[in-house]
Symmetry: C2
């Protein structure tokens, strides 16, 4: 935390504002424009309008989203106006081509509920009471064909086809509906409607944000500055964090989950996560970077605590650390692990004189979806019985007492046998 | 004229209808669909809806337009419903990009006036009282963004870029505004709004008409049949007839102009013009084709008479022929040629003992804009004095009597000298 909460009507000096805005930003396009806008803001004592879009069809936020949110907090602290644009219009319309499952049609009640959830989720980072929330149906719903022709006249086909995914699909002869050209224009029109000074987005949003600049200019406005934030990689270290990749840490997940998932990330991600996800102030970050080099394990524990602390306070972070010690560090099963009663007469168990097959047991307890998956899990070394790994698919487990089965690092089941 | 005016509610047999529709058509896409539609029309005793667009920013019709008009008359005679779609919505909007001078913004009064002119002009070919006139603002004005997204979802970027002019410009890196993709979709939406069975257009409209098929299908309608009509070449024989090329014969031009312009076409155009512009019935056409081969000059005179007759009746055609004989054939000046009084003291005349220079005379009388142009006209053999051509730029004309100057085949001036 920088700790500075702006209360006066006077803005900080430009260099200080630029330092804080620039920190962690992937790109500021163009930086000169931002300086000019800040100078004018200072001279006129007027806040900048800083825009962040929100897709109400995807209300679940994760710590990857926190990267932008923290930057918005910085703008709040510098005295500027943060505007959440809820894309309710497109959410109400859905995808008329019916091809995209990612764009379901939502009712107004669902959109409102999702917008509320969104505000709740970011309240641990931002001062939500100071955020201006706008639904883009306000200016998109009244648009008629004449207005839309005017909008489509601002941009060329060739420039739109420069967007990476469009270029790739066009080259590969995969269809691009003309409708898909409308979405960047609509997002740009949001910037026109708000006369936005700055728009935030991840590196994957860079093209759309730049369209906003062009379109604003065609409408006689000063183009917005595009503040491109880096994308946090997911817990697997492979791709950007995303719910659909299953490699995310939700903002509202319990502290134990946040802590445990953080402990599962590859060491190579530590520095990036410290920068983007810890929300630590610069001084503490410098110390953390040292620790990453000297003791990655300890650095990871402190990162996990910092993340749990951000969203659940000191208590939550401590509880999460204790839980982790119990479950993972001591290799003991957690206290409250689920108990599954297994009938010895279940034919799926396939017993012999040594007991029942581990493969069958994984399936019967639900830890594996099929024999094939159970075999793969065992051969991968992902399965332990009473804390001991078994890599032999022909492992048999005695039935004269209870056992604790573990799959992966965090799925436990206590098995008890009934005749 | 085929002479058959349909009055009963019974449609003609399919083969007869197909024969009449097919005559002179460049393409019917697809012919099978048209047969099916005609069969259903016959079975249900329901007329087909035959659509023809009209751009109210270009109300001046020429005999090239008559090609489609005659085909529409055929549909009327076969008992089907002809619908003129006045593109008033786009005319009211103009071109928001401001780049096209061809798409000026018109007031509702101007649009109405142009639509009325249009009806007047075609009344010599069609039964205008039976034509249904629709203004496309009726269905385009109420469209909101959701409706437009639905429309843009029906077509892909790649398919739109297949249109010849788009493909060429895209390849040459010349800008195509996304707005330009909207116009074929709007034209297609007209077909949806009317549930059109057939749309007529010139070969240059083929792409847009085909878009209509795809879009109708996406809206759950049976796709229209595209009836592609050949484009009449202009009086110069080089390009399609168009006001902007100055190679046209207007439907409302005086018979003398229509006759004279027809007499100026190259012989190579005769057969095409007979087919497309004479509006003669098949039997007379066969005779005319013979005449074209045996006596092109006579064939041209009869074509000129046929065209003047279509738009100005027998009297007009006869007057035009007489006028032509007087002016062109007998190489005599027309009766009512303008008289220009030339002052002998005008320094531009540059006289010598033989009289005044022809170059100067052409300039002073306004037949040439400059000495350079006058010299070129003389050397090209375009200038005659008292019916005699002069190709020598150093020609001098006596000033002791009046002369008749001729430029080209049809510009005459009577010169009288004053001291």
């Amino acid at each position: 935390m920088t700790g500075r909460e702006k209360t006066s009507d006077v803005f900080a000096p430009i260099t200080q504002q630029m330092d804080e805005i620039r920190r962690d930003a992937a790109e500021i396009i163009p930086e000169d424009d931002l300086v000019r806008k800040l100078e004018r803001s200072l001279a006129r004592n007027e806040p900048l309008r800083v825009k962040q879009g929100f897709d109400p069809t995807r209300p679940d936020l994760h710590i990857g989203h926190a990267v932008s949110m923290r930057k918005l907090r910085t703008f709040q602290q510098l005295g500027h106006e943060v505007i959440f644009v809820v894309g309710d219009y497109t959410a109400r319309v859905g995808d008329p081509s019916g091809r995209s499952e990612a764009r379901p049609k939502l009712s107004p009640a669902e959109i409102d509920a999702n917008a509320r959830t969104y505000a709740d989720q970011v309240s641990s980072i931002l001062d939500v009471s100071k955020v201006r929330v706008e639904f883009n149906s306000k200016w998109l719903a009244p648009l008629d064909l004449a207005g839309i022709l005017e909008l489509t006249a601002t941009y060329t086909v060739a420039r739109m086809l420069e967007r990476d995914d469009f270029a790739k699909r066009y080259q590969e002869n995969r269809p691009i509906s003309i409708m898909e050209f409308m979405y960047p224009l609509m997002q740009a029109y949001d910037s026109v409607a708000l006369n936005a000074d700055v728009e935030l987005g991840g590196t994957d949003q860079k093209f759309n944000l730049l369209v906003g600049r062009t379109v604003q200019e065609r409408y006689g406005q000063e183009p917005q500055v595009c503040l491109i934030m880096p994308l946090l990689r997911g817990t697997d270290g492979d791709a950007k964090m995303s719910k659909s990749y299953g490699n995310y840490i939700g903002l509202t997940e319990p502290p134990e989950e946040q802590y445990g998932k953080t402990m599962s990330i590859p060491d190579a991600l530590l520095e990036e996560w410290y920068e983007l996800a810890s929300l630590l102030p610069p001084a503490e970050l410098a110390v953390a970077r040292e620790l990453v080099r000297s003791n990655p394990y300890q650095a990871k524990r402190e990162l996990a605590a910092a993340i749990a602390r951000t969203y659940h306070g000191d208590d939550g972070a401590r509880r999460a650390a204790e839980h982790f010690d119990r479950v993972f560090k001591q290799k003991a099963a957690p206290d409250d692990l689920p108990v599954v009663a297994v009938s010895l007469s279940d034919p799926a168990l396939r017993g012999n004189e040594n007991g029942v097959s581990l493969v069958g047991l994984l399936v019967v307890t639900g830890l594996a979806g099929s024999n094939t998956e159970a075999v793969r899990l065992i051969q991968d070394g992902s399965v332990a019985v009473d804390g001991e790994k078994h890599r032999d698919r022909h492992t048999y487990v005695s039935t004269d007492r209870d056992h604790v089965l573990r799959k992966g690092s965090r799925h436990y089941v206590k098995v008890t046998f009934i005749p």
